[in-house]
């Protein structure tokens, strides 16, 4: 195939700018392909995880909570594909049941954080008054209370459960989402097209819904997907410490803390929940990446 002068490698024919800069190349079909591949990979992992979670609601190979004391700490066998834990429970069944707990906890924690955070963030960006100032300061102070601290206090009050861990993580997300949203919303609110919209006498609510929200949607999507993985790992961390889902139920954090006692003799038991957590987070992160890429392209 004939190559144009701009495609030849010869030094003199390539513009000096192109030789020197790291950037400035046309967006090629390769980046497009890469982004599609990322999306496909992420979507596959997420749907497999989701499918496993849904299947576990109706069927697992064994009961994930009941004990088979005869088969303690068996390695992988044909009866127990991933082996059994120190209580003789089937590891595969526990992993499957844990998937649902993880997804459900991650979803509600993220939803709490994103919903309230975005709403408050837009409000603070659009109304500069005493109330928004108080909200910002309150957010700063709330920032000093990590999910762990909130979970500690909630668990002490209501007993540790998936719900307290979820609420703690969700509340801890609010100030971040609020801050990030506020910065982006302020930028949009100060832009010329919003000024024009305001000069038309359009209402604040209309401007927020029609002009500000669409412009920060990619940011909110990025936050949602990133926070989803943070929520998953926070839930696992909290239940590892005993501040989340309580022990008999097979949350991945509980499985990790159970198996960490036998880490020297049965490292495989640590490996399964580890891989499950890492793979789920990877899936959501890949999906986030691809979604952000698409949203960016549309806005250009």
């Amino acid at each position: 195939m004939h190559k144009g002068w701009w495609q030849r490698k010869g030094k003199l024919l390539v513009s000096p700018m192109k030789q020197r800069s790291f950037g400035f190349k046309k967006a090629s079909a390769t980046t497009e392909y890469k982004s599609n591949l990322t999306f496909l990979l992420g979507a596959t992992i997420v749907s497999v995880v989701l499918a496993i979670g849904l299947i576990s609601l109706i069927w697992t190979p064994y009961n994930p909570i009941s004990y088979f004391s005869k088969h303690i700490l068996q390695g992988p066998t044909s009866a127990h594909l991933l082996g059994t834990d120190q209580e003789g429970r089937d590891e595969l069944s526990r992993l499957m049941a844990g998937t649902w707990i993880t997804l459900y906890a991650g979803f509600f924690a993220t939803a709490i954080g994103i919903f309230f955070g975005t709403l408050i963030g837009i409000y603070v960006a659009m109304f500069r008054n005493v109330i928004s100032e108080i909200i910002m300061r309150a957010g700063d102070i709330l920032l000093a209370f990590p999910a762990l601290l909130i979970a500690t206090l909630l668990a002490a009050r209501y007993g540790s459960s998936t719900v307290t861990a979820m609420a703690a993580v969700g509340i801890a997300f609010i100030p971040y989402v609020m801050r990030v949203t506020r910065v982006a919303a302020t930028k949009t609110y100060n832009s010329d097209f919003v000024l024009i919209a305001r000069s038309y006498g359009l209402g604040k609510l209309y401007i927020a819904a029609k002009h500000i929200l669409p412009n920060i949607v990619s940011l909110v999507t990025l936050q949602t997907t990133l926070l989803f993985s943070v929520a998953i790992l926070s839930e696992a961390g909290l239940s590892y410490l005993g501040l989340g889902t309580p022990p008999p139920s097979p949350a991945w954090g509980v499985m990790l803390s159970d198996s960490s006692n036998t880490i020297l003799t049965n490292p495989l038991l640590v490996l399964w929940p580890t891989l499950a957590i890492a793979l789920t987070i990877l899936g959501f992160n890949l999906l986030a990446d691809a979604m952000v890429h698409r949203l960016d392209k549309r806005s250009k």
Binding site: M17, D140, A144, P146, L149, L243, T274
Partner: protein, 315 residues
């Protein structure tokens, strides 16, 4: 600048006071009085009342709060309800483990983030960039305690390079103590570093595609010089905006990682105290951790204003 600093210091003081109020109010909600826990289930009402008076728990909430705050400011925290040991000493020896651990983790994660972010950003259109993006993506997927488990299996058990449990104390030799902090710090910094590297990468790409960078090239600067002179502040601002979140993630991570590696730090002390319902210790640790976050946020904010002076106009 000085005006701004004064403003921020006043805010910090007010925030600390409000945070202490919140902690005090929430801790007060905790079920079970310390006296009942100390005396056990056979305690009679009168013995509980006597102990309450002895511990100062029968006075009004207001005077209890004032007592706590004055203790905090003068560092006389009293003795633990449960163990009877002076709290200040327990916390100080735990902080000697936790804060070096967090410091080491910050350094390591910045190192990882810079290496991955800069190489990934410069080569973002090439194969290398994709590979590095993939590496950072996988790195983020290993949260601290998960990475800790894997590091224990690989480095500790298989190759036995570094100690995986315990902490000998700084008086027993600095090298040995640092060695036992390396694995926990690495476990903490893998995910944080990879997370940060993505922000560095995207900020770098923004710079590479910006008009001012093109102008700098047209003036005849080499790419490295142009990036250093015109890009470094823009990239640093990106890093700073997410670093507040990073610090909190590091603190929470440190608490969990300490329990994985059984280091005698603030996290371990907090978890034990929660188990014992040792309210005074929980209260003090919560205040120290939230105060640390507030102070670090202040430092981040000041750094932000130094790097990007335009931020003064928004205030």
């Amino acid at each position: 600048m000085i005006r701004y600093l004064c403003h921020r210091l006043v805010y910090l003081t007010v925030s600390l006071v409000i945070a202490s109020c919140i902690i005090f109010a929430l801790i007060d909600i905790l079920p079970g009085s310390p006296a009942e826990v100390i005396l056990g289930t056979q305690a009679t009402k009168s013995s509980v009342a006597v102990l309450n008076r002895h511990l100062g728990l029968d006075s009004s909430l207001y005077s209890q709060y004032l007592h706590w705050i004055s203790g905090l400011t003068t560092l006389h925290l009293g003795n633990s309800y449960i163990s009877g040991q002076p709290i200040a000493g327990e916390i100080a020896s735990a902080a000697e483990v936790t804060f070096p651990l967090i410091g080491l983790a910050i350094l390591l994660s910045l190192l990882i983030a810079t290496i991955l972010g800069v190489t990934g950003g410069i080569s973002y259109r090439r194969k290398l960039g994709t590979i590095i993006l993939g590496i950072s993506q996988i790195g983020i997927s290993f949260p601290s305690f998960v990475a800790a488990m894997l590091l224990i299996i690989i480095v500790g058990v298989k190759f036995q390079l570094l100690p995986t449990t315990g902490f000998s104390g700084w008086s027993q030799g600095i090298v040995g103590s640092l060695k036992s902090l390396v694995l926990p710090a690495l476990a903490l910094s893998i995910a944080e570093g990879c997370f940060l590297s993505r922000y560095i990468r995207s900020a770098l790409i923004d710079v590479l595609n910006s008009n001012y960078y093109r102008t700098a090239l047209a003036k005849g600067l080499t790419p490295v010089k142009a990036l250093w002179r015109h890009g470094r502040r823009n990239i640093a601002v990106e890093v700073l905006t997410v670093s507040g979140m990073q610090i909190i993630a590091l603190i929470v991570g440190a608490v969990i990682v300490e329990s994985v590696f059984s280091l005698p730090g603030l996290g371990t002390l907090l978890i034990t105290s929660i188990g014992n319902r040792d309210l005074s210790v929980i209260r003090d640790i919560c205040f120290i951790l939230s105060g640390f976050v507030l102070v670090m946020n202040l430092i981040v904010d000041i750094a932000y204003h130094i790097i990007d002076p335009r931020a003064f106009n928004d205030a």
